[in-house]
Symmetry: C2
Subunit: 431 residues, 2 copies
């Protein structure tokens, strides 16, 4: 078998066998197949596509390129919840303690933010001391003992994916359904969860801008999960405007904590209950979504979800007093309430523009490895469907630099669109 | 400007500007743009194509990636003749002395054989001492003093092409019209000829198997030549069966020399006169093809073309006595005449099968850098349209190894197809 023949086969729109895909990924991982062959392969895949079977083979080959965790010896069932990324999406931080409090072990390896899209690890690190670099042994032990883990991607899981992703970034081969789906799913499969809930975002602030694209990606990932023997469901949720109110690391962390006290913007609260219900059903703790939802609500009401978050923070070295007193989080130097320039109904709060504005403010990264400022961000008070009067506060800016504050004000104002007519709120979920 | 954005533009089927192409090729040549980006780019080009303008820009960028010879200060007009490669194609070795003898300076840089396709340099090197590594200064001086040069590609001409070709070979990005055309033409343009005659082969033993493909390639190269300010014409000629009789280095060299004595298989003789006539018209030595043909014929008849070959061989350090006495060429140990298994008309002598059989015999290379045996090869006596009786000689094998001889016999016999009905001979030229 030769790498060039596999590239030629894909170039000529033929379907690759499992053996060919395994050979290519194995060779790429151990360096026998050079980057230039993988780059030509990725471009052929992006332009000629892959069948669901090829995509599943690619996913499994990448998952097997390193260690594959077996969590079945650790807990009876471990679930993972993955979001395809967006603006203001702190769902995992609220949902994981909720389901863990319901007795379902949750183990998740998460990523950092890049570009307009925030990252769960960055949000968690607003709590001083919180470690995101657990070893796989620590991961397993904490999952067994505490029933909840939220850490960074271990380096020895799916190394082919990391290598391929870095290459795709510089060769114009990022936006390909099979490559995106296999990248996400290879990490999930290697991380060992037996059940996976995928929250696929669609809209102006998502990687999949149209519902149709998001549905294709969701279906593909569910197929891959099932072919890999993992119970998998996908939700399609809105990301035209930021989720909830907070955008920015500390601010989002606070919003996620407050939700566990029963205080959160309506859309974010509803979103979390719905996701939690799905996780509980898939994890066989609830017989249907209604029961799952009631269980999740109860864990908020009786404080057991908040207690689980305290346990998680403490277990990973974080200062749990932040969970009990959110005023301890680092605050930005300047806080400005930005007023509405007109009266009317809000018809758009462009999520990507808000996400990019948060990068400019210092809350996110333009490129990998950039430092971030945990304190800065926005509180989006008025959202699509809301009625506002001129002079009413639209959003708050939390900034550490006056020039950046001014820039952010202009940018986020440009994310808003108004209408004289009534505008219905955006749906939270599409399917 | 960033390389990745240029790749993305081509991936998304947009037309690249001259500046973008120049930036990419310059960066690739000096190593600032890594191989993996060039590989992704080449795959995007092969799958999405290039416009003739982009192709011309690519060609000029590759030509300018190194030294571009200016021959206008050396001779009033220098012509180059290029064949797209085939089996038994020794045309340059006969035609160049013919036109040089008619007073038209010819300077050509040629290549080595690879796979089923033979190379002019390998054929010339059957003459002991013949140098194919002239420097560009030697090239210019010999062109000026002798009016004829036939050497290898200088390393400092179009280095981007050499680098790109090596990469294409291992990334499945060889068969792309824009990449093939720009590769050929960048070398021709850098080598400085003001007039270029392209002999584009089509058929079973050519890189372009169909006439349509060959015509597209020919048109593209003529357009590029004209956009680069070079007088360019292209001929479309047959390569379904080997050209002439000889296949193999010494054997072809002998056939090329014998032609200059007026003795050659009819198809090869006609082919050479036709090509020479075109070269003489393009080089403004003949007013039309009839006159060009008559001039070329006269140079054969009066021995001046043979004398020019002597001059060429001598100038490049070769033993000119080989030109006068072809029995001096190294002969193979075994010569076998293979008889026809049946009577009838020959309907096919598959050129690629014969070419590949010559590689097996040792006359060619499976991969770059392989050693070759100059003495071995075939003399194809019966060709398409010929009537044969069972037991009549079809072809001769010249071999240095009995096992390879047996293999070659089977292979070349399989290249033959017979018909009971009359079969017309193949045309020499299509356009």
């Amino acid at each position: 078998m030769r790498a060039v023949d596999i590239i030629i086969k894909k170039r000529d729109k033929q379907e690759l066998t499992s053996q060919e895909i395994e050979f290519f990924i194995k060779g790429f991982t151990n360096g026998e197949i050079p980057d230039y062959q993988a780059a030509a392969f990725a471009m052929a895949v992006i332009l000629n596509g892959m069948t669901p079977f090829e995509t599943a083979d690619l996913t499994l080959a990448m998952a097997r390129s390193g260690q594959v965790l077996d969590l079945s010896k650790v807990v009876d069932i471990a679930v993972d919840k993955h979001s395809s990324g967006g603006v203001g999406d702190k769902t995992s931080i609220s949902v994981m303690p909720m389901v863990a409090a319901c007795g379902l072990p949750v183990g998740k390896m998460s990523g950092r933010g890049l570009g307009f899209s925030g990252g769960t690890l960055d949000k968690l690190e607003s709590v001083p001391g919180y470690r995101v670099d657990l070893s796989t042994d620590e991961f397993k032990q904490q999952l067994k003992e505490k029933g909840i883990v939220l850490t960074g991607q271990s380096l020895d899981l799916a190394p082919a994916d990391g290598k391929m992703y870095a290459l795709r970034d510089v060769t114009g081969t990022v936006p390909s359904m099979p490559l995106i789906a296999s990248s996400i799913m290879s990490k999930k499969i290697a991380a060992g969860a037996q059940a996976i809930v995928l929250d696929v975002k669609t809209g102006l602030g998502a990687f999949m801008e149209t519902l149709e694209e998001a549905r294709v990606l969701a279906d593909l990932m569910v197929d891959i999960g099932r072919l890999a023997g993992r119970k998998t469901v996908a939700l399609l949720s809105d990301m035209n405007q930021p989720l909830g109110s907070a955008v920015g690391n500390s601010l989002e962390m606070i919003e996620a904590i407050e939700l566990l006290r029963g205080r959160a913007p309506h859309d974010y609260y509803e979103h979390c209950l719905h996701v939690a219900a799905h996780v509980l059903v898939l994890g066989q703790r609830a017989k249907d979504l209604d029961e799952g939802r009631a269980m999740a609500q109860k864990c908020i009401d009786d404080g057991s979800a908040l207690e689980k978050l305290r346990v998680l923070v403490q277990a990973q070295g974080g200062d749990a007093s932040y969970v009990d007193d959110v005023s301890r989080f680092e605050w930005a130097k300047y806080v400005e309430a930005v007023k509405s320039p007109r009266s009317g109904f809000i018809s758009q709060v462009h999520a990507r523009i808000v996400g990019e504005a948060s990068v400019t403010l210092g809350a996110g990264r333009a490129k990998k490895g950039d430092p971030i400022d945990h304190a800065v961000g926005f509180l989006i008070h008025k959202k699509v469907g809301d009625k506002v009067e001129a002079g009413e506060t639209l959003f708050e800016i939390h900034a550490n630099d006056e020039k950046k504050l001014a820039e952010a004000r202009t940018n986020v104002l440009s994310a808003y669109q108004f209408s004289d007519e009534f505008v219905p709120p955006l749906p939270l979920f599409y399917e």
